[in-house]
Amino acid sequence: MFEVQNLTARYGPLVAVNDVSLSFDTGVRMGIFGHNGSGKSTLLKCLVGGVRDVSGAVAFGGSPIVADQVHRNVMLGIGFVPQVQNVFPNLTVEQNLHIAGSKSDSSFLEEAYALFPLLRERQDQLAGDMSGGEQQMLAVALALMTRPQVLLLDEPTAGLAPAIVKNVLGSLSRINTELGTGLILVEQNVLAALDVVERAIVLKGGRVVFDGASEELRAKEDLWAWF
């Protein structure tokens, strides 16, 4: 379970996340939305300790999330997929997966291939030579190699064609239902993401201005006023 209490995150003088308190179970399917600069990516990074200058507290399963110690926090059972820079372009698909698996169990490799059969076909290809959608699949598979209870994804569909967006979001739903892995995703593509998540949070100026069911957000006639 994630517990966020009075979280404030800063980049120098800029307050990106302002006094946010939340709690959610690990199996959750949650979307964090908001316009550019609303603090959604920063909030996501704070959940894995990726922001240095923070106050307040974040805990996962009772263990505190220590700022600037992403590599330790991940081992608590949190998978993190950054928006870009999320695969290693100079390594092949299989080498990428081995890098991720070396901290857990490389037998997960077969499970990753079962989940994303395309990756098995491309196992000897350099990750940098794959398409954006394929790289996103690889990035998710990398995060799954650490056997997370919950997966944090920063704009997993950014820059992808609509057909690929559907594919990626479908894969994420499957991960949630088949593996029981929770999903917390930051997305600009709100309507597509609302099909996947069951809870939605909207940030504005670093503060939570909406926290409720995804259907409730979808039903709001003034939905676009939030963004």
Binding site: V74, P82, N90, L91, I99, S102, L126, A139
Partner: protein, 304 residues
């Protein structure tokens, strides 16, 4: 003959320096230019231990290398917080700071340098024996780096160089790898410095300044960054080239700047015409192309 043997000793020392610099800069992508200061630390510490404490030369050489290894924390710890251009600046500061200390301590011989350092070996075949020794050490250095960058650990180094954030997101600690790379690379540089000191019996602070950083960078870039054989090729080429120029019989006032012009021209030419260096192959196979691949990759992903 003695001249040729001395050039071969210099080649061997530069092979160790360039190979160890390549481990940090080429494979690790850690933009530190302070490598010559660890060369200096090895030379001075080993020399001082042998002069003042009468420690046997082979032992003082090993201690000198060990001290350089330990002091590498001076650069690896800042790399926890800064990278890229900022690490270049921090490393220059570290290098100039230590050089300033050496330059102003009477104990180290100050600007005049440290003299009367006991030599490692004596006798009529001194230089030949030393050449054989340095050849073995240089070969071991090349093999050690080759071994480190192969296999799982080598792939982890590549992944860290590609992207630290993604690497950490997989539960891997980039800092551990940085500390190891700096410690091994700096220890090797310290070993090269100690061997230099106990062959030439004399070191001065000006040997370890920014010009030496530029020379090492040229060796790595021209030979091929992030390749096993590149630094060796670069070291041989960049050590023999200035020696060859001396046979042109030019006045000293022209020779010194000419050497700088050659280094600069080579680096710029290779950056534009052959970024993979003389020995680098295709993308991912080494050279600056592999070195900078992640930056280009990220830029492309952002643009998509």
């Amino acid at each position: 003959m003695e001249y040729l043997l001395t050039v071969m000793v210099l080649i061997g020392i530069n092979v160790i320096l360039a190979t160890s610099f390549n481990l940090i800069l080429g494979y690790g992508g850690l933009m530190s230019v302070a490598h010559p200061i660890f060369y200096a630390i090895g030379a001075y510490c080993s020399g001082l231990l042998a002069i003042h404490l009468q420690i046997p030369v082979p032992l003082s050489i090993l201690i000198g290398a060990g001290i350089a290894m330990v002091l590498s924390f001076g650069v690896s710890l800042p790399s926890l917080r800064v990278s890229g251009d900022y690490l270049v600046i921090a490393s220059i500061g570290f290098q100039l700071g230590i050089l300033h200390v050496i330059n102003n301590l009477e104990f180290t011989g100050a600007a005049g340098g440290l003299t009367n350092i006991p030599v490692l070996n004596e006798g009529p075949s001194r230089s030949l024996v030393f050449v054989l020794l340095i050849a073995v050490v240089a070969a071991c250095a090349v093999m050690l780096v080759g071994w480190i960058v192969e296999g799982d650990y080598g792939r982890a180094i590549t992944a860290m160089r590609n992207d630290e954030e993604a690497f950490s997101a997989l539960g891997r600690n980039a800092m551990n790898i940085k500390i190891v790379l700096f410690a091994i690379g700096s220890g090797m540089a310290g070993l090269a410095g100690a061997l230099y000191a106990h062959y030439f019996a004399y070191v001065t602070p000006e040997q370890f300044g920014i010009f030496t950083s530029a020379a090492l960078l040229t060796m790595v870039v021209v030979g091929g960054a992030a390749t096993t054989w590149g630094p060796l090729v670069g070291a041989v080429l960049l050590t023999t080239l200035p020696q060859a120029i001396t046979f042109l019989g030019l006045p000293v006032s022209i020779m010194a700047p000419l050497q700088g012009v050659i280094y600069t021209t080579l680096v710029i030419s290779f950056l534009f015409a052959r970024p993979q260096g003389l020995t680098g192959g295709t993308r991912g196979g080494g050279g600056l192309e592999a070195w900078s691949a992640s930056a280009a990759f990220r830029a492309r992903r952002r643009a998509e």
